[in-house]
Amino acid sequence: MELSKEQCREIIARRIAKEFSEGDVITLGIGLPTEVANYIPHDIHVIFQSENGMLGVGHRDLAAPENPKVTNAGGLPVTTKPGAVFFDTAMSFTIIRGGHVDATVLGALQVDQHGNLANWMIPGAFVPGMGGAMDLVVGAKKVIIAMEHTNKGKPRIVKNCTIPLTAEAEVDMIVTERCVLERTEQGLLLKEINPMFSLDDILRSTDADLIIPQELQQLAG
């Protein structure tokens, strides 16, 4: 079963959007994690935090006049929602590191069965910098990884990360186009599986020990 990149991203973003509750404070990473905002049900009001200094980030309104003094972490002008707040970077990371963010969604290069995350550096390649990612992963109450299951067929979910870590044992949940994994005290639990894939597909494309429950739930979409 071959899914296009766009189909993969939509499946992942739709599934993660179901994880949030009314009033949650959420920080989304750049790229695929940002797309999660498009699928949050309209009756659930969440508060988006932006590391550059804002709570209550609204949608980008391409029709509205842009205010260069109100931007997101990508430097793009954004709108504010009712209740929005601006603050400086010190306050932003008091919120992030201090456990006031309910959930963060980030991409990954590798995640291992101990909850270790590698998403900032490939040795030998250009390293743009960790920005606020290391603080976010350590500080957020729930760390959700949004990524395609493999890197061109090469497993990204591994026994032990082989590239430099972003944080140790902080990942709580991994959502890919194939399955949902949850980190438990016993190890990585295969929680849901996309019916487009077999259990064998998952096991062959994963290089970590997984706990397989008696009955597999279908990936919620």
Partner: protein
């Protein structure tokens, strides 16, 4: 009253090989007028302390493009390809610091603190060379304070006391940097002849040494 100076006078204050904190998150809340003067004066060998190296053609990113920076202490260089090119060519030194750690190091530098304990970076390359301290059963990295010779700070509006208001998300690193340099230069977009409302001030003027006048 603070010393009001021209942008050209402000540029001349910055000395070669100085450490300079510059506010801004990418282009938002980034001073740029004093930077143009530094470029005109070719003041080089600088240590730049900032959130990021911005873009090649804008604000502090131009300091990199003009090869005036010998070391950058930043969280991100991805938006300025010239920083990466100089890094590969061995022409610049880059110290990458997690954002929460960088801002807190600067806060400590301005707040009279000897450092702080953070869980950020534990078990990663950031831990290298740092003391690990256990407190309440959790392991933390000891991070040291950071100060600079100069800080160049953006403000949306300032009064002649140096009190400054920063709108929207322009606050970012500007507020903490204003506390942590020997000489603080404020670059407001607008200077008010009357004092600003005390309840609406983002940066107290006592931190500010010089206010850069508006263009004629």
């Amino acid at each position: 009253m603070k010393k009001l100076i021209s942008v050209s006078e402000a540029g001349k204050l910055i000395t070669p090989n100085a450490s300079v904190m510059i506010g801004g998150f990418l282009r938002c809340g980034s001073p740029y007028r004093v930077i143009e003067e530094i470029i005109k004066n070719k003041t080089g060998g600088l240590t730049l302390i900032a959130n990021d190296t911005s873009f090649e053609e804008y604000d502090r990113g131009k300091l990199i493009a003009n090869k005036l920076v010998k070391k950058a202490i930043v969280t991100h260089i991805g938006t300025n390809p010239e920083t990466g090119r100089q890094l590969n060519a061995g022409e610049i030194e880059v110290e990458l610091v997690p954002m929460g750690t960088l801002v807190e190091r600067i806060r400590c530098g301005g707040a009279g603190l000897g450092g702080f304990l953070t869980p950020t970076g534990k078990g990663t390359l950031v831990e290298e060379g740092k003391q690990v301290i256990e407190s309440n059963g959790r392991k933390y990295l000891l991070e040291k304070p950071l100060r600079a010779d100069f800080a160049i700070i953006y403000a949306t509006k300032a009064d002649k006391f140096g009190n400054a208001f920063l709108d929207g998300t322009t606050r970012n690193f500007n507020t903490v940097m204003a506390t942590a340099a020997d000489t603080v230069i404020l670059e407001p977009e607008e200077i008010s002849d009357t004092p600003l409302d005390p309840a609406q001030i983002t940066i107290p003027g006592i931190f500010v040494d010089y206010i850069v006048m508006q263009e004629k």
